[in-house]
Symmetry: C2
Subunit: 356 residues, 2 copies
C-alpha cells in the first residue's frame, strides 16, 4: 500500500495542519491537547456541539466544523479514540454558556473517554450532555457493546448543528440528536481492506474476489464474507438489512446534568414502514470513486420506491471513511418536517458550504 | 480489482442514471445521444457552456452541470471521447440564442470530435466557439498534440459558468476561458493504476514501491517512474515543475464564427512569478482519501509562501479523477480580481452548492 504521507506518526498532525491552512477562514486548530474549533467560537448563548473519534474517517469530524454544524472536533490517532483531556479542552474553548453536547459514536473507547470528559466538564461547571450514535444494523456486541455508530453520525451533526445555530436549548438539541439516532440505520461493505499508516500492512485480508459484508469503519468484522456480486445484488442486501430491521431496543447511559450522575435510558428504533420519508445517504469508504456510488444510489432509489418509501433528500460521497478502503455504506434516515428544514439550513464548513 | 458495478458495459449509463435520480432538481439526462443538461436550459439570452469527454473522471463533467457552471455535459464511454452527435444534440438542447462554448480538454479524440461538432452546430445556425484546455506541464506530444488538458478544466468550467450566468457575451466567455487556460498549470502522480471496467485488468503496471510522475488522467505515461518518496518530496517535485515552467508557446485551432472556418491562434502561458495571487487545487485521482490530500496541501502552501506566491483560494478533493486510481494532481491558477469574483459566485450543481 502506497500513501501520500511523510512519517506515519505525523499523519494526523500534518493532515490537520493542511486542513487548517486550507480553511483558515473557518477553523482553527489547537495542539496539546488537539482539537479543531470554529474560528468564531465560543458563540455566546449558542449550544456548542462537539464530536470526535479516531482519525482515518475524514472528512468526519474535522471537516464538519463550522457554521451550522460542529463547534469543535477532537481527533484521535488513526482508529484510536481521542482522550478526555482533548474533549474537555474543546468544551472549555467553545462553550458559550448555553452548554455543550458531545455526539459520540458507539465504540467502547470513545464511549469511555467521552463519559470521562462529561464528568470532567461537569466538574468544571460546564452544562454538558452526551448522546450516543449506534446505528449500524450489521452486527452487535462485536468489540463494542450493542451496535456501532456509523453514517447517522454525519447526518446528526448536520441536523443538530443547524438546530444549535437556530438557538435550540441544550435539552432540545440533545432530544433532537437522540431522535435522529433513533431514526437512522446503516450498513456497509468492504471490497478491500484499509492500511493503517503506522502498520503499513492491511488491517484484514480479503481474497481476490472476496468482500466483507457489514464491515465496521475500522475494519472490524461484519456479518459474513462472500464473493463479490453485481452492485445491484449488494445494494439489495444492504438496503433490505436496513429496511427490514425490526424494532431495536437497548439501554444506554445518559448524563443527568442536574444530579451529576449517569442513568440508564431505554431506547427503541422503530422499523421503517411504507410512507416514510427518508434521507438516503450513500457513503464511500475512501477509495471508491463517486461514479460507483451513483450506481449504488440508482438501485437504492429503485428499492425504496418499490417499497413505498420516499427519498426526499440524499447525500452521495465519501463522508465517513476508513482511510483508502474500497466499498460503501448506506444510511437511511427517517425524516420529519423539522429534520428536513434543519438539513436544508445553511452550513459553512471545510466539507459543506450551503446557503453562504 | 473489485468494483461496485453490474455489467461493465452498463457502467456509464447506470452511473448517469443514478446521478440524474439523485439530482432530479438540478439536471436531466438524455440518452441516444447521451448528454446531461440543466433542468432549466435553455436559458434565453444566456451563453451556454458545454463540456464533455470520456467517462471515468467523475464528478467531472456531469457533476458540474447546473446553475453557475455547465449547461450540458457529454460523457463518452470510459476514457473514450464522446461523439459529435452528442455534442451537437447538447448544443441544440441548451442554446438560448446567445451561443454555445465548447470547453475541450486537449486529447486527440476530444479535439477531433468537438471540432466536428463545432462545424455541425455552425451549419445548424448555432453561434459556437471552441476553447481548448492544455495545462499539463508533465509532457507534451504523447498521444496528444501539445500538452494534455487536466485540472484547469474544472476551474475554467466554474469561472466561465459564473461569467455566463452574469450575462457575459459569447466572445467574452471565450476570451475569459482562454485566459483561464493560459493562467493555469497542472501536474499529477499515480501511486496505483486504474482498471477500466470493460477490461478488468490494470491499465498499466506499477511495482510495489513504484509511482508514475506526470501521469495522464487515462493512465498515459508521464515523465518518469520512480520509487515512492515522502509526500513532501513528491509535492515539491510537482509544485516546482509547475512554478518553474517557463513560457509555453503553441499554436491551437480556434473557430472563426463569422467566416465558418478554423484559424491558427498562437497562445503563450507566462511563467508564475513572485507576487502572483493563485488558486491552489489539490485533486485526488479517485482512490486517495482526503486526509492525504490535506498533507499535500500543507506542503504546497509552504512552498508557495516561500516563493512569495499567495494562495488566495483553494480547492481540495477529487474533482477530475481516473476511476479508482490512487494519487493526486496539483493545479495552480494565477488569478485576477475578475476571476476571483467569478470563482466565488453562487453555483448549484450535483458537486458544488455555494450561495444557494
Amino acid at each position: 500500500m502506497k500513501k501520500l504521507i511523510n512519517n506515519p506518526e505525523d499523519f494526523v498532525r500534518e493532515s490537520l495542519e493542511g486542513m487548517a491552512a486550507a480553511h483558515a477562514d473557518l477553523i482553527k486548530i489547537n495542539f496539546d491537547p488537539t482539537f479543531i474549533h470554529r474560528l468564531d467560537a465560543p458563540k455566546s448563548g449558542k449550544v456548542a456541539i462537539i464530536s470526535g473519534g479516531g482519525s482515518g474517517h475524514e472528512p468526519m469530524h474535522a471537516g464538519f466544523v463550522g457554521m451550522g454544524m460542529l463547534d469543535a472536533a477532537c481527533p484521535g490517532q488513526i482508529f484510536t479514540s481521542p482522550t478526555p483531556d482533548q474533549m474537555l479542552a474543546a468544551a472549555q474553548a467553545v462553550d458559550g454558556g448555553a452548554g455543550v453536547i458531545y455526539i459520540v459514536k458507539n465504540y467502547s473507547g470513545d464511549v469511555m473517554n467521552f463519559e470521562m470528559a462529561t464528568e470532567l466538564a461537569h466538574s468544571e461547571g460546564i452544562r454538558v450532555l452526551n448522546i450516543l450514535i449506534d446505528d449500524d444494523v450489521a452486527v452487535r456486541d462485536i468489540y463494542t457493546q450493542g451496535r456501532r455508530g456509523v453514517g447517522t453520525t454525519v447526518l446528526a451533526e448536520k441536523i443538530c448543528g443547524a438546530a444549535a445555530e437556530r438557538g435550540y436549548s441544550l435539552q432540545q438539541v440533545a432530544d433532537l440528536c437522540r431522535r435522529v439516532n433513533l431514526s437512522g440505520r446503516s450498513m456497509g461493505i468492504a471490497l478491500s481492506s484499509c492500511t493503517v499508516p503506522m502498520r503499513m500492512s492491511p488491517t484484514f485480508a480479503l481474497g481476490a474476489k472476496e468482500i466483507e459484508v457489514g464491515i465496521g469503519i475500522h475494519g472490524e468484522p461484519g456479518r459474513k464474507r462472500m464473493d463479490l456480486m453485481p452492485a445491484n445484488e449488494l445494494v439489495s442486501m444492504l438496503a433490505l438489512s436496513i429496511l427490514e430491521d425490526s424494532a431495536y431496543t437497548r439501554v444506554v447511559r445518559e448524563w443527568d446534568m442536574d444530579n451529576g450522575k449517569w442513568f440508564d435510558c431505554e431506547l427503541v428504533n422503530q422499523p421503517f414502514q411504507r410512507g416514510d420519508r427518508i434521507l438516503a445517504f450513500v457513503n464511500g469508504m475512501g477509495g471508491t470513486p463517486i461514479s460507483e456510488l451513483y450506481i449504488v444510489y440508482r438501485k437504492l432509489a429503485e428499492i425504496c420506491q418499490n417499497r413505498g418509501i420516499q427519498i426526499v433528500r440524499n447525500l452521495i460521497g465519501s463522508y465517513i471513511t476508513s482511510l483508502e478502503m474500497q466499498g460503501c455504506s448506506i444510511t437511511l434516515l427517517k425524516l420529519d418536517d423539522e429534520m428536513i428544514e434543519l438539513w436544508d439550513a445553511p452550513v459553512n464548513t471545510p466539507t459543506w458550504r450551503w446557503g453562504v
